[in-house]
């Protein structure tokens, strides 16, 4: 693959992701509305408000852009860009079909988790540069939360890697031929659930959205951002969520493996199902307290994932 082809494919992938993510917001609003026996977006482009995300994006684009006079101007403008770029970078290493991946490297899983944990730096910059007490508290919470949940996240990610004996996504998919890792008794399911919980905490989603708790922190770290800069944070959140759902479908649900359809279709179906599951969690549960959040991490998830990883390693070494 020449570099020109590579860049062209990258641009197509970027456009596709942005379009998909725009419509994921529509999906979330419709889904939430259904759960609350409402209708959701309806009048903006019929049928069923299909133009709603376009209208939202356009409105945010033409909205006045406010930079607070007491903020750190450079960092304030850097934060949204940082968050979007780091959240999009992860997609470069994720295989979207059985054979196609933008950047094919042996250590895809390692790269993905390394880049995924960079997002919180952008959030922290946003909170710090806004020069706003709510934003700062929110940023501190987000940093504490993400650093803590990084441990069970990585430990549960390692289980499929141990089973497959590789950090390459292609190898992990190939190893799931015949039995997906989520079907592996006990170890697979625990790993799946802990990863899902840790990913929710990493993406600042309910029940772990303490950094955006409206009742305490107005709107969290993005409280001072208006217009398109706010839209960047919104976009980054959904891109991150989409990447996490995609990762779950690849690591635990066999990714492109499945009958009848080709690989890409299966990836899409599985990712969408995981995404809907995440939405279901979001619109059904309450927000936990910060001490409960930390307790869940250090007293439950971390020991559990450690034991789980040990069991996986034992099984592989005995059967390998």
């Amino acid at each position: 693959m020449t570099s020109t082809e590579n860049i062209a494919q990258g641009i197509i992938l970027l456009g596709a992701i942005l379009l998909i993510v725009t419509y994921l917001t529509w999906l979330e609003r419709k889904f939430a509305a259904r759960l609350q026996s409402r209708i959701g977006p309806y009048w903006v482009g019929r049928p069923h408000g299909w133009l709603q995300p376009i209208a939202d994006a356009l409105k945010l684009l033409i909205k006045e852009d406010i930079t607070p006079s007491k903020s750190d101007r450079f960092l304030f403008n850097l934060a949204p860009v940082w968050v979007v770029v780091t959240s999009l970078l992860g997609f470069a290493f994720l295989p979207l079909t059985a054979s196609w991946v933008l950047v094919n490297i042996d250590l895809g899983l390692l790269y993905f988790s390394a880049i995924g944990s960079l997002i919180v730096i952008g959030i922290f910059i946003a909170g710090w540069a806004s020069n706003n007490k709510y934003a700062l508290i929110s940023a501190l919470r987000a940093a504490a939360q993400v650093v803590a949940y990084e441990v069970p996240l990585l430990l549960s990610l390692l289980v499929p890697a141990v089973f497959a004996g590789s950090l390459d996504f292609q190898d992990i998919i190939r190893a799931q031929d015949g039995h997906w890792f989520i079907l592996f008794p006990v170890v697979g399911q625990i790993s799946f659930l802990t990863f899902l919980l840790a990913a929710l905490a990493e993406g600042n989603r309910i029940p772990f959205d303490l950094s955006e708790a409206e009742s305490e922190l107005v709107a969290g770290f993005n409280v001072e951002y208006s217009g398109m800069k706010f839209a960047y944070f919104y976009l980054a959140e959904y891109v991150h969520l989409l990447a996490a759902s995609l990762l779950v479908s690849i690591l635990f649900l066999g990714g492109p493996l499945g009958p009848f359809f080709s690989g890409g279709v299966w990836v899409a179906i599985k990712t969408l199902l995981v995404f809907l599951g995440v939405l279901w969690i979001r619109w059904s549960f309450l927000r936990v307290r910060i001490d409960q959040l930390m307790m869940l991490n250090w007293k439950v998830l971390t020991p559990l994932t450690l034991v789980n990883l040990l069991l996986a390693g034992l099984w592989v070494s005995l059967n390998g």
Partner: protein
């Protein structure tokens, strides 16, 4: 859905914005950026999520399942930086008016305001009260008025649709509050005739005896202070105390008559902790000086308020600081 949708009404879709030209293998949609932008603005109105009084309950009902404002693309945002629309739902007090103006100034342009309910429109039956702004348009410009007390969810939705129409037509018509006309001025100047036929009954003690009396009651098991309040009889200013014994289910009331020009009474905060707030309230609204109170400041009104509004001598027609802008100031502010 609670309301039926009329199919004949113009759709809020793209087809009203421009024309679609069908060429072989190609559809071309022509519109102007102005129309497209105003379509985007009206299709995604995000209100600031805050409510002031009972109208906010109806507003919440409008957001919830039966009525569902999300159908119009209206979702509430918590930060003023991310919202386009401010729905004033409830009575605007003078203390809140400053916050409303601050929040309004924090919102990015273009922004709109809906005054919902008769209190937000004109102050309604609270408009002559010392602490109420007679209509939110004294503070910020209003685009759409939604009548009702409180407005029904249907009225709220009608207000949103009317605002959308205003945005499409490209003109906002901020109205001035016309209620402050000559007749209004005269009714304000007319001194309210207040009846003074409340009987002065009950246990009256001297101001100096209050701490000893309260300590005695406290030791006899009256452990809960229900209230401390005051009545202005013009010739005297009476303070009423009520304590209760939760164990024996008994209550005891006593009163103190004070000189209106120099109302001083010893504080009972050392006996009853809860008296601190009650005494601050009596000080705030009646100007009664409680000697020995640890922190005698205003509690309800802004710190720079002048006068004591519940006294009969308080004049309603004279403008009082800190916040009741004159018509001239308001006009000047709107021109900025």
């Amino acid at each position: 859905m609670g309301t039926s949708v009329d199919e004949k009404k113009p759709r809020l879709g793209l087809e009203t914005l421009g024309e679609l030209i069908r060429l072989p293998g190609l559809n071309v949609f022509l519109t102007s950026t102005k129309e497209l932008f105003s379509w985007a603005e009206k299709s995604s109105l995000w209100p600031l999520s805050f409510g002031l009084a009972c109208c906010a309950i109806e507003m919440m009902a409008t957001f919830a399942s039966r009525f569902d404002l999300d159908r119009f693309g209206v979702i509430a945002r918590a930060s003023p930086r991310q919202s386009d629309l401010m729905i004033i739902a409830g009575t605007v007090t003078i203390k809140m008016a400053e916050r409303i103006k601050k929040l309004y100034n924090q919102m990015p342009f273009p922004k709109w305001v809906i005054a919902a309910g008769s209190c937000a429109i004109s102050g309604d039956h609270y408009r002559h009260i010392y602490s109420v702004v007679p209509g939110v348009d004294w503070v910020i410009p209003v685009d759409v008025y939604v009548s009702g007390c409180p407005p029904t969810p249907e009225a709220f939705m009608e207000g949103i649709i009317r605002l959308q129409r205003i945005i499409t037509e490209g003109k906002t018509k901020p109205h001035l509050n016309t209620a402050y006309n000559k007749i209004e001025q005269e009714t304000l100047k007319a001194k309210p005739q207040k009846t003074l036929d409340i009987p002065k009954t009950g246990t009256y003690i001297l101001p100096g005896e209050v701490p000893a009396f309260a300590r005695d009651l406290r030791e006899r098991g009256f452990d809960f202070l229900t209230y401390i309040t005051a009545v202005d009889y013009v010739d005297t200013l009476d303070v009423a105390y009520n304590v209760r014994s939760l164990e024996n289910n008994e209550e005891q009331t006593w009163k103190v008559s004070l000189e209106p020009s120099n109302p001083i009474v010893p504080s009972i905060t050392s006996m009853y902790k809860g008296a601190e707030w009650h005494e601050r309230e009596a000080y705030d609204l009646f100007g009664i000086d409680f000697t020995g109170h640890p922190d005698l400041r205003r509690i309800l009104l802004p710190d720079d308020w002048q006068g004591y509004p519940l006294k009969k001598s308080y004049l309603m027609d004279t403008p009082k600081p800190p916040y009741r802008p004159s018509r001239k100031e308001y006009e000047a502010w709107k021109k900025e």
